[in-house]
Every structure is written in C-alpha cells, then in structure tokens.
C-alpha cells in the first residue's frame, strides 16, 4: 500500500509498525539495496583498482584490498542512513495545519528496529575488527615495522636483507649479502621477499616506501624489521614520514624494483664500485652506536661517553678517538 505525504503525516513516524508501514520498509530497503549495490559495483570496478598505495607489492596490494573492503562495507551503512533520512523527510514531513509529527504513540521505541539496528551494526563492526586484525598481520606484518624480533615472518628462505639507515636528512641503504656496501640508491628485485632493517643514526625518522606499502619507524639503536615482496617492476618513492628537522621535507629519494637478474648485476657492480668506501665503513650491524661525533644521545661533542663500538659489534675504533 502506498501512502501519500499528506496522510502519512498523521499515520506514520520514524518508528514504523503495522501492515501499512511494511511497504515503507520494503521501499526503503529496495532503494538502499539498489544504491548500495550500484555504488559497490562502480567502486570495485572503477575506483578500487586505483586506490593507493597501488599494487606494486604484496603489502601494497593488501593495503589496497583492505581499503576497498572497508569502503564497500562502510558506504552501504552510510547510504542506509541517508536513504532513511531523505525518505522520512519526503514522506513524513508535517503538512500545513497537520498534527505535530513529534510525540504520540508512534514516536515510542520499536524493539524490532532497535534490535535489528544494533545487531547489524554490531556484526559489521565485529567483522571489520576481526578482518582488520587479520589483515594487519598478513602478509608478514603487512609492511609495518615489527621491531627487532618480528612475530610474523615469511615462510620463504630466500629473503634479501636490506638495511635502511636514516640520518638528518637522507636515507642510505646497506646490502649485507653484497659485502655490506652502503649507497644512496635503493634497488630491489621483484618476486623476492625483502626484509628491510630500519634504523637511524640520530633522531627518529620513518621509512615510508609509499608504492610498496611499507612504513617503519627508524629509531636510533633499534632494528625495526619490515617485510614486503615486490610484484611489479617500476619506481617507488621513499619519504621520511616523521618530522625530523629543517630538511625533513627534502628527505626523500626514489627506489626501483627490477628483475632479479638486473638486481644482481646492479648489486655486484655497485659492490665493486664502492669497495674503497665499504672498506672504511663500520662493519655491518643491525644497529650502530655512531658516537664518533657525539651522537650518543648527548650534546655534541660527547666526551663523557665516547664512541665505543667494539663491544657492540666489533668495529674498529676510529683513529684519534
């Protein structure tokens, strides 16, 4: 049964009940279903494939998937509220000279509506909480820093270790499996799991390889491990996402995902090219105590607690210290 706006001003209210109101319910549900399905289909086919951070790695893919799931779950809830609100305004608005739409028996609670609303929203929220928690740790920590002893580690034994060193205000990268050379440029092979060991030589930075979906804080004296497996060739942007001083805004560079063959060629040639510099670098370690210039948490120069890496990782004491 359809009801005109005029007679519903007396007969209906937000708390729907009775057989006359069933048609309102079905109409609202139908409008909601059509709009929700239309939105979700359009989103998943038009917008979804392009949501950030993209599909360059398994972790980026996971982040984009999570974003799409949250959108297609949350927007129908929003549409339900809007549809009900607009429907109520159109169908049940007070007419001129009509009775006050607020108050009376119809304005009282409706147990079915309340129970249904609480049940549906509870199910949605609990599902998203469980889904979000699961996705937060899959795959292998979802690209987030897990500290020095990661809980979620890759099953593969073919993991490339890459150390990321933040310092005011640049990123450098060390490759322990290639002699420990340290370079300004970051190249990694596709279809290979990468373990980023993120640390800092001074203040807190944050390593954000945007298109890889990797983000891990760089803390001095800490080895913060984040995993990812690149799945597409191309360039990605590395930025510092922790305000770290005057030149924080320019603390970025560009990395590349290349084929394993190209990576090996690059790493081997770079190892050879930088051999003279690698020879004077501190031996590779997961954290450093770079106090040669007073960076041990004190003020420059820190003479009270001089550079003493020997106990830390067997490095040679710099001359004159």
């Amino acid at each position: 049964m359809t009801t005109s706006p005029k007679d519903t001003s007396e007969a209906a209210s937000p708390a729907l009940r009775g057989s006359d109101d069933a048609s309102h319910w079905w109409r609202i549900i139908a409008i909601w279903a059509v709009l929700s399905v239309a939105f979700d289909v359009v989103w998943l086919n038009v917008v979804g494939p392009h949501v950030p951070p993209g599909r360059m790695s398994d972790t980026a893919n996971g982040a984009a998937f999570d974003f799409n799931v949250l959108i297609v779950m949350a927007v129908p809830v929003m549409i339900a509220i809007w549809v009900y609100m607009v429907y109520a305004v159109v169908m049940w608005r007070a007419g001129r000279g009509g009775p006050d739409p607020i108050g009376g028996e119809r304005a009282r609670g409706n147990n079915r509506v309340v129970t249904g609303w609480i049940t549906i929203t509870t199910v949605v929220v609990l599902f998203l909480a469980g889904f979000g928690t699961y996705e937060l740790v899959q795959p292998e920590g979802a690209g987030g820093g897990q500290g020095p002893t990661p809980l979620w580690t890759p099953a593969s034994h073919n993991v490339l270790q890459v150390q990321v060193i933040g310092q005011q205000w640049k990123w450098t990268y060390r490759f322990p499996s290639f002699g420990g050379f340290e370079t300004n440029t970051l190249e990694i092979p596709d279809n290979t799991t990468i373990a980023f060991h993120v640390t800092s030589l001074d203040v807190i930075h944050s390593f954000w390889a945007y298109q890889l979906g990797v983000k891990a804080d760089a803390n001095p004296g800490q080895d913060n491990v984040a995993f990812t497996t690149p799945t597409q060739l191309g360039s990605f942007t590395v930025r510092c996402s922790e305000l770290c001083g005057l030149w924080h805004g320019s603390m970025f560079n560009t990395g590349r995902v290349v084929t394993p063959l190209a990576f090996n060629a690059w790493a081997t040639s770079t190892e050879h090219q930088l051999a003279a510099n690698t020879a004077v670098l501190a031996p590779f370690a997961y954290t450093y105590t770079p106090d040669a210039n007073g960076a041990d948490g004190g003020y420059y120069p820190d003479t009270a607690d001089p550079y003493s890496p020997v106990e830390q990782y067997g490095a040679t004491q710099p001359a004159g210290q």
Binding site: Q168, K170, N184, W247, N277, P290, A295, Y307
Partner: protein, 227 residues
C-alpha cells in the same frame, strides 16, 4: 562616579585598549612575517662558455653578525666579494665547477658513507690538486664538512685542516690561513630550488650537532636555485 560618565569612560577605555591590542597583534604578526619570510640574499652566477664557476668557503666560526660562533659557509660573488649567504642561482643543465676553500678542522665521520664522492663528473673531486673518490675520515685530519645536494645525488666530503694549527676565526678567511682546496664539477638539473647542506653534524653545542647553524639557512645549508 556617575553611571553616564563611567559608561563613556569605559567605552573610550575599551576602545583604546582594543586599539592597542590590535596594534600589538599587528606588530607581532608583522614581526613574525618579516622574520619568517626573510632569508639571506641570492648570489647569481652567469654561464661562461656553457659553464659556471662557483666558489665557496667554510669557516669554523663566522666571527660576526647574530651568531659569531657558528660554523658557516659563504659564497664568493662573480665580482670577487664574499657574501654571507647559502643561496645561489645557476642556469639549468650547465656544468657547475665548484671550488671550496675549507678553513675548518675535521673529525671522523658519523657515517663513513659520507666520505664518498658522488654525483660529480666522474664521481671524483680533487683535494689540493689530487684526485680522490673516497675520503677515509678515520685517518689524517678527518672530514670537516660535506657539500651535498641530495636531490641530484651530489655529495663531496671536505677534508679538515689540522685543528692544532692557528685556524681562521672570522670570515672571510684569508688564503694565508690553513685551508684545503676541494674542486669538483656537476651538471645542474632542470629548473627548481634544490636544497643543499653539510651532512657532518657540525652544530657545536646542539643536540646531535644538527641544530643551530645546521638548521639555519645562511650557515650550513641553503638552496641552489636553477633557472
């Protein structure tokens, strides 16, 4: 005090107070604006035969101005005078030949990776005429500063002079003071503003050595404007 008279006084007083506060607020805004927006001048370099010659010097303590004890760079204009600024302008896609007169002492680097010469023509520089690609700061007088433009990968370590010598204490330093001469070339990129800086934490007395002159344009960092 009669109500009417008091009201008039109060209104006048309130208006005067509001006006004074407005003036103070405007003054604070202007002071902040002027100070935040002000920056050292720009030294412009014109190309000659497709190349640009840029000369800088480093001094352990500038010796005058607002921060006489701060370490600093300064730039020689094409007219030959020294200017206390770290902002300079060069043409795009031109070979920039840099000469740095390093008057400061050195120490081991926090990260020896900064001892590499990168991004220059041939990935090399010269130190007092001798070509080098790596400076081991653990030997000799160490490295005092670096000249680095991270966005284009340029980084050159500047070997320190012997700290036991009588060093230049005020800019501009005279060639008679102990110094090293570091030369290198690089190609300027496309138009834009490129931050450059020293990567040695040389801000004496500042946390991690990266405050003060390391965090102030005009001392140990600035901009290369490319037009």
């Amino acid at each position: 005090m009669p109500w009417g008279y008091g009201d008039v006084v109060n209104k006048t007083g309130r208006a005067a107070l509001a006006g004074a506060l407005a003036l103070i607020a405007a003054g604070i805004v202007m002071f902040a604006f002027i100070n935040l927006m002000s920056q050292p001048g720009t030294v412009t370099f014109a190309a000659s035969n497709g190349q640009v010659n840029v000369t800088l010097q480093t001094v352990g303590s500038y010796g005058s101005g607002d921060h006489p004890t701060w370490v600093s760079y300064e730039i020689q204009t094409q007219g030959g005078t020294w200017q206390h600024t770290t902002i300079w302008q060069v043409p795009a896609r031109t070979q920039v030949n840099v000469t740095i007169l390093q008057y400061d002492s050195g120490s081991p680097l926090r990260n020896e990776q900064l001892g590499q010469v990168t991004g220059t023509v041939g990935d090399v520089a010269t130190l007092n005429g001798a070509t080098f690609s790596v400076n081991n700061s653990n030997v000799g007088n160490g490295v005092g500063h670096t000249f680095s433009i991270p966005a284009i990968g340029v980084s050159v370590p500047l070997a320190g002079v012997n700290g036991n010598d009588t060093l230049c204490g005020a800019a501009p330093c005279e060639p008679s003071s102990p110094h090293n001469v570091i030369k290198f070339s690089f190609m300027s990129p496309g138009p834009g503003n490129y931050p450059w800086q020293c990567f040695v934490p040389c801000g004496l007395g500042w946390l991690y050595g990266n405050g003060g002159p390391m965090g102030t344009v005009g001392y140990m960092g600035g901009f290369m404007k490319v037009v």
